[in-house]
């Protein structure tokens, strides 16, 4: 299946290679570099590149290209999903998945890759198992290691791999037993010029941080489970109980994990928390344009909108912007042509407004298109879909865990067309 993996940074330096079968020369990456050059933007590199003898399947994450080499037929999503899993594992281990952290932890990275695939077929991808095999580095441990020369390879043999609940390691013990759940919802929406919703849907995830001793068996139930008709679960969740009772019953992995994600589709009515009044125009005569944006609250369910940011990708001809913001700060980057207006908290009494003129490259024709606005926002303690967790029950263990649920709504791909 997966033959080799190359990690390549944005500048085109190949800084790590790993082969699971016989060695494939790194010159195979030349095909990738060619495609990379053609694509201009890193986003536009085709995920699957065909070369005379191999296929290159790549993903782009955190400014690193993960390029895998395939020789025979394999479902491309299989490889893509796996590569993302690799990136997530790095993130899990080192806090972030960047070129520097990978270079700093080269040996651990290599050991991880060795365990994750066997002959190109995934072997251990669950973070709980991997952590039993190879302990993640911590500052303390790396200090102790340098002094004592001890290792970060687990000396106990991983039993998790043998059990039928591979996602949970055995013998977990905590003094404080706690389970936290974050319900995070993102609104994906497209609003048109007049402010009407072209399309809106909600993407929700429930992230969990479970630190419970022993083998707890948890059941999470909702006040209004009927909202959820399109869900996907972590493998620990029992499908059948969801099908029959609409409760989420599971033996959790230890630590942080994503319990489920759900999707409330465009068919349902989605509340849009803010409205945007905007007017961006470029004059036919003279190299200038005007910009006027006002943001106001719409359906916020009585909560405050925070961390409000408006981002505008300006046309190429816009040289600079001289604007006046009644609230927050704005910044125009003439190189990337991105205007960012960081508003902060939305005050319903005094609506924030950004107004002023844009100067264009002289001589260039007036831009055809109007830039669209991307909105970013955050509402604490609210799940915009109305989803509410009813209760969390624990079976199988006797202590009383500390439980908590947090709700937050964010803007996902929230776009206003102009």
């Amino acid at each position: 299946m997966i033959h080799s993996l190359f990690l390549i940074n944005n500048a085109g330096d190949l800084f790590l290679e790993k082969h699971w079968k016989s060695v494939v020369s790194r010159s195979v990456c030349d095909y990738f570099f060619e495609a990379r050059e053609k694509a201009v933007e890193p986003d536009n590199v085709p995920p699957v590149i065909r070369t005379p003898h191999h296929y290159l399947i790549n993903i782009y994450r955190e400014k690193i290209f993960f390029v895998s080499v395939i020789q025979t037929e394999v479902p491309p999503l299989f490889v893509i999903e796996f590569l993302h899993r690799v990136a997530e594992t790095f993130q899990d281990y080192f806090g972030e998945c960047s070129e520097t952290t990978i270079k700093d932890n080269m040996v651990i990275v290599y050991e991880l890759l060795e365990e994750m695939l066997d002959n190109g077929f995934p072997l251990a991808t669950e973070s709980n198992i991997l952590k039993e095999l190879i302990r993640p580095p911590t500052i303390l441990r790396s200090m102790v290691n340098t002094i004592t020369g001890s290792s970060n390879v687990g000396d106990t043999l991983p039993t998790g791999q043998l059990s039928t609940i591979p996602w949970r390691r055995a013998g977990v013990k905590y003094t404080n037993n706690e389970a936290y759940f974050d319900v995070v919802e993102e609104i994906d929406a497209i609003l048109d010029k007049s402010g009407t919703t072209v399309f809106a849907e909600i993407q929700g995830v429930i992230d969990a941080c479970v630190k419970l001793s022993g083998m707890p068996d948890l059941t999470l139930s909702f006040m209004n489970p009927r909202l959820l008709d399109d869900v996907s679960f972590h493998p620990c969740v029992r499908y059948k109980r969801w099908e029959s009772e609409r409760v989420i019953s599971f033996i959790p992995p230890d630590g942080n994990f994503q319990l489920m994600s759900y999707h409330i589709s465009a068919q349902n009515l989605v509340a849009i928390p803010i409205y945007v009044k905007q007017n961006i125009s470029f004059f036919e005569t003279g190299p200038s344009g005007r910009l006027d944006i006002t943001v106001g609250p719409k359906q916020t369910m009585g909560k405050t909108v925070e961390c409000l940011v408006v981002t505008v990708h300006m046309p190429k001809v816009v040289l600079s912007a001289s604007l006046n913001a009644t609230q927050g700060t704005y910044n125009y980057d003439p190189v990337t042509k991105i205007l960012v207006w960081d508003i902060g908290k939305l005050n319903p009494q005094k609506l924030p407004n950004l107004k002023g003129s844009l100067s264009l490259q002289s001589g260039a024709p007036k831009p055809e298109e109007n830039p669209s606005l991307n909105i970013d926002l955050k509402i604490q303690q609210l799940a915009i879909s109305g989803l509410k967790v009813n209760r969390l029950d624990m079976y199988g263990e006797k202590y009383k865990p500390f439980k908590g649920v947090k709700y937050v709504t964010k803007a996902g791909k929230f776009q206003v067309r102009t």
């Binding site: 296929y55 893509i80 040996v107 043998l162 039928t164 399109d230 055809e368 830039p371």
Partner: protein
């Protein structure tokens, strides 16, 4: 790469950054390159692990960077047997990387792995096999083959999984081993653990994807296990099953697809044809039987459906393609929602999903129509995603939604991304050709775009307009005129060429403008692009034919220019056209037809999706994505005309079915005494006996056992022996008493005879019972077919084989040895299942199933269901007789102030944690008031020991008793577990001390395995004692019984009747415990215990001696 070049490589790097690892000192200390390697060698040769580790880390970092470190091979390989785990692991990494280049030296390490393969720890066995098989050295192929074969029958499913992984490695190293490997695959495919399933199917796909016949018997099992297999395995299995189903089942859409075709034809075909076609179709439709879906086909669809909710995009895609290729049309819709959900994922995932959605939308547009808006494009999407979304939107367009889609497209045209705008314009063109109603609207819109400032937009519009106009040129001469004016401004060659072609083609519609355009073009001919030049020549030729008066000279001029063009295509074209159109004396017959040739009516182009014919590739595959066959791609076969025999899937494994059928036979007779309340032959005395002893449940079990073996006794002696073993395991004490009596007459053959008599008596009643049984099984199978998903697959197959029983009955006695073995095997496997399949366990239920009750259910249920997966059912068949279970007192009635507590070792696997010993505790409340909140507190144990408490008992009413199960990990020691037993009022200190025999669980070995394992446990690990057997230990039965009563072991088949062998493994660490009792003349005997843990061995010997000499 040679070593010297590696050095120079490194030299470059070392200047700028510390070269190896993250030790900042390394750069400074080892400044010279040549010394550096010497130094690494030195470090590797030292006897400090920390130095070795440091060296290995640097070497691995070199490998990771792609630097050559092969010259260190000898120094590294020396450390392969290093004690330090991390060093070892890094050495493995190095070895696997360079073994191929240094084959001879690599051989030095092989013996280490061979030793590892024999290690008692399954994880070490597995990792040894993993590394051994990763070393790509051809010489060791036979060793690898041997190791794989051995590992494939290992007890540990994890080792078997590793064996499955090793198969493709060996296959790629030496394809000649294929046949042998297929045998191993076949064996592993029959494995029943979820751990192995994914890996073996992967091996199957790589080694022998065409051997679909291997799947038959495992099909249902795979379907049923699927949901519990790890996600990567799921993908592979689903893809394989899709192909399998395509060869085995009928097309569920067979009737619809016919109708579809006919409607398609009605649309395109001319009328007369259509009539005939219809008649033919009606005939075929009538001929065809109504379609009924194969239940196995249904099973697959049903069991894959929940996986649409997997978090893994690859799994969702695999299920989606399975539904697309296999499901009836009405059911395919459910995949749309899941696929749309995937679109939120990473852009690479989106890319692949959209490619597949695009293909699906062509065939089944309706499916995605409700999700139209999910494909709307954001300005921030990467271009390749935008273009794919556009493709999907275009495919989804129909009369009802076209207006919304066009409005959407309109906004796209304003985008900054020019490639995307061009694609949008093409999309509009396609919508216009496909949907007649909006053609004019689209055309108008496109014409407006002609005045766009961006040339690319205009050019693309021109090209699209050209295609649209070709459909109905008469009505649009004004557009053509407008376009003719554009020729002055547009510079994009493709657009210019399109305009010229358009004018030439429809020059009758614009008779005045056309010659003028030609005039302009003749002027600029030399500066045009080739593609435009060709069109100029075409235009000239067409005008010459229609309007030669005005254009004759111009044409001549253009042709002359073309004659001396640099491009040979253009020169050729000019020569060719001149010959055709300009009449000369030599010109041939073609001249007459020139007009027909040039101005023939050309069919309008059909604007098709590039995804049109992609669905002949299996969706979700690499080949589909590339629209070209990738290496190793397996074609998705067409549906068969008529379904192949579905019964191939009924059979489990040939031997298995025999074994099950044997069971059935037994069961028929067994059934009777059970239902008839075990009267008759087993006698009133016995039932009275048993009642006094263990209660009716276990009694009926014993009765059924007897009659079961009775029925079997008609088979040959060898058979009887194997039967006896079973009895031994399952029999109870009082049964022995009875045997002893009969034995007084004919000690040698007693069991066979007594049972035979019971058998014959039984058989008389048996006939009636068979009928009962049959109806019972029928009702059973009905409930089965009512889609109760939980039913394990074995039950089903059992059911089917049951109906065939009568036929098989006759066949059964043909071979004696294999069924016996297979029985053992099946037991072994199922037992392991029970240890590992914890999915459905209810954690410490308040009143856990009590063994005696289980036992009752076992005879009933296991007979009905045969080899089932659930451990409660299985356990009893593998576990020593429950009648032998001794109760121990934990708390006396008096000290407990009325609360009496007893415990016993139930010998059930403790399902929440397999390495704990299950202790069954019975509370009896002898007071007059209720006791509340019974629970455990403050366990005080030796280090390492763990306890898993039973769930708190809220209330125990007066006079009641309740039984719970708790688990204790004794760490293979006989140290007592101390804890407090608390009620709502009092606390009692209690302790549980296990007899050594309870610290083990039965292990199932074949005779050969036994000998092999015994061979490994010689010397210090072997304890041998001579003893004199007690008076009652006169025959094998008694010995077996005594041994199994003392320790939780299982019997190992053995050829000699002088020897009894038993095997087990300790619960916590899984060390094997092997016991051999050899009887000699005159009651003398030798007891041998082999166990890695000497303490356990010694204690076990002591206990055994005591038990046997009584």
């Amino acid at each position: 790469m040679s070593a010297s070049s590696a050095f120079s490589d490194e030299k470059g790097g070392s200047a700028s950054e510390p070269e190896y690892g993250h030790d900042p000192a390394s750069g400074g200390i080892f400044s010279s390159d040549y010394k550096r390697h010497d130094d690494l060698k030195e470090m590797l040769d030292s006897n400090k692990d920390s130095l070795k580790l440091e060296a290995m880390k640097r070497i691995v970092a070199m490998i990771a960077r792609g630097k050559n470190a092969s010259d260190l091979f000898p120094a590294v390989v020396k450390n392969v047997a290093c004690k330090n785990i991390e060093v070892k692991k890094l050495v493995y990494v190095y070895l696997v990387r360079y073994a191929e280049e240094q084959q001879d030296l690599a051989l030095l390490s092989i013996s280490t792995f061979q030793r590892g393969l024999k290690d008692p720890n399954q994880l070490i066995r597995a990792s040894a096999l993993r590394v051994l098989s990763s070393i790509r050295v051809t010489i060791i192929v036979p060793i690898m083959m041997l190791a794989i074969k051995e590992a494939a029958s290992d007890m540990s499913p994890y080792v078997r999984k590793t064996a499955a992984h090793a198969i493709p490695k060996l296959h790629s190293l030496d394809p000649e081993q294929k046949d042998q490997l297929i045998e191993v695959i076949e064996k592993l495919l029959a494995d029943k653990t979820t751990l192995v399933a994914g890996s073996v199917v992967m091996a199957f796909e790589e080694v022998c994807p065409d051997r679909i016949d291997l799947i038959h018997k495992n099909y249902r099992k795979l379907c049923n296990l699927l949901i519990d297999v790890e996600e990567w395995g799921q993908v592979v299995i689903i893809n394989m099953l899709t192909r399998y189903a395509r060869t085995q089942f009928l097309n569920p859409n067979i009737n619809e697809s016919l109708l579809e075709e006919s409607s398609d034809k009605a649309f395109y075909a001319s009328d007369d044809e259509e009539d005939e076609d219809k008649k033919a179709e009606v005939a075929t439709l009538a001929k065809r039987k109504p379609y009924v879906m194969d239940p196995d086909h249904r099973l697959l669809l049903r069991n894959t459906k929940p996986l649409l909710q997997s978090r893994n995009a690859a799994v969702v895609m695999a299920v989606a393609q399975l539904y697309f290729h296999l499901a009836p049309k009405a059911e395919v819709g459910i995949i749309a929602k899941a696929l749309v959900r995937l679109m939120r994922s990473h852009s690479e995932v989106q890319y692949v999903v959209l490619q597949n959605v695009a293909t699906m939308t062509i065939k089944r547009r309706g499916m995605f129509e409700p999700y139209l808006k999910s494909f709307y494009i954001r300005s921030t999407d990467p271009t390749q995603i935008k273009i794919l979304k556009l493709e999907v939107l275009t495919n989804l367009a129909n009369e009802t939604n076209i207006s919304t889609i066009l409005r959407e497209f309109q906004t796209y045209i304003k985008s900054m991304d020019k490639d995307f705008v061009a694609a949008s314009i093409q999309a509009i063109g396609r919508c216009a050709t496909n949907i007649g109603e909006v053609r004019d609207t689209c055309l108008n819109g496109l014409v407006q775009l002609l005045s766009n400032r961006d040339e690319l937009v205009v050019a693309e519009s021109v090209v699209v307009i050209k295609k649209l106009l070709q459909m109905q040129p008469e009505q649009h001469s004004d557009i053509i005129k407008h376009m003719a004016k554009l020729i002055d401004n547009i510079q994009v060659p493709m657009a210019r060429a399109s305009i010229l072609w358009l004018i030439g083609e429809y020059c009758e519609h614009v008779p005045k403008i056309a010659p003028d355009v030609l005039r302009k073009m003749a002027k600029t001919f030399n500066n045009e692009e080739d593609i435009v030049k060709l069109q100029i020549i075409n235009l000239a030729a067409k005008l010459y034919l229609t309007n030669s008066k005005q254009t004759k000279l111009l044409t001549q001029y253009v042709l002359n220019l073309a004659k001396y063009d640099q491009n040979y295509d253009i020169r050729d074209r000019a020569r060719f056209i001149r010959q055709l159109i300009v009449p000369t004396d030599k010109s041939g017959a073609l001249n007459k037809y020139a007009k027909k040739l040039f101005l023939a009516l050309k069919p309008a182009p059909i604007l098709e999706s590039p995804f049109k014919d992609r669905d002949h590739f299996q969706l979700g595959s690499l080949s589909h994505l590339l629209n070209a066959k990738a290496g190793g791609y397996q074609e998705l076969p067409d549906w068969p005309e008529s379904a192949p025999d579905p019964s191939v899937r009924n059979v489990e494994i040939p031997e298995w079915s025999k074994c099950t059928s044997r069971k059935d036979r037994k069961e028929k007779k067994v059934e009777k005494p059970f239902y008839s309340d075990s009267e008759g032959e087993s006698g009133p005395t016995e039932s009275a006996d048993s009642e006094s002893d263990t209660g009716s449940g276990s009694e009926s079990a014993s009765a059924s056992d007897e009659s079961g073996s009775g029925s079997e006794s008609e088979e040959s002696g060898e058979e009887t022996e194997s039967e006896e073993e079973e009895e031994d395991e399952e029999k109870e004490k009082k049964r022995k008493k009875r045997l002893d009596k009969t034995k007084a007459k004919k000690p040698a053959e007693e069991s066979a005879e007594s049972e035979q008599s019971s058998g014959t008596e039984d058989r008389k009643r048996g006939r009636k019972a068979v009928k009962n049984q049959k109806s019972a099984s029928e009702s059973e199978s009905e409930s089965e077919s009512s889609e109760s998903e939980d039913e394990s697959e074995e039950e089903e197959s059992e059911e089917e084989s049951e109906s065939d029983t009568d036929i098989r009955k006759k066949k059964t006695p043909v071979s004696k040895q294999p069924p016996k073995q297979s029985k053992k095997e099946s037991k072994k496997e199922t037992q392991e299942m029970s240890l590992l399949d914890l999915d459905d366990f209810e954690p410490a239920p308040a009143s856990a199933p009590v063994t005696p009750v289980n036992f009752l259910s076992s005879s009933l249920v296991s007979d009905l269901e045969g080899l089932s997966l659930t451990d409660t059912i299985l356990a009893p068949t593998t576990i020593a007789p429950s009648g032998l279970i001794k109760m121990y007192e934990l708390l006396h009635r008096i000290t407990g102030e009325g609360l009496a507590v007893e415990y016993c070792f139930s010998r059930q696997p403790f399902s929440p944690e397999p390495n704990m010993v299950a202790v069954q505790i019975q509370f009896t409340n002898n007071t007059n008031s209720e006791t509340k909140n019974l629970h455990i507190e403050e366990p005080r144990m030796q280090s390492g020991m763990r306890i898993r408490e039973f769930a708190e008992i809220d209330m125990l009413a007066a006079g009641e008793s309740v039984t719970v199960v708790m688990g204790i990990d004794f760490c293979d020691s006989t140290q007592a577990a101390n804890f407090q037993l608390c009620t709502h009022t009092r606390k009692f200190f209690v302790s549980i001390q296990p007899p050594v025999g309870e610290l083990m669980t039965p292990a199932f070995l074949t005779e050969n395995d036994f000998k092999k394992e015994q061979g490994k446990l010689m010397g210090m690990n072997e304890i041998s004692e001579k003893l004199t057997l007690g008076e009652k230990c006169v025959n094998e039965h008694v010995i077996v019984e005594r041994v199994t009563a003392t320790a939780n072991l299982s019997r190992v088949p053995c050829g000699s009747d002088k020897e009894c062998r038993f095997a087990g493994k300790t619960v916590s660490s899984g060390c094997l415990v092997l016991v051999t009792v050899t009887t000699k003349e005159g009651g003398a005997a030798q007891l041998t215990v082999n166990c890695e843990k000497m303490v356990i061995g010694t204690m076990l010997v002591k206990d055994m001696m005591q038990a046997l000499s009584q």
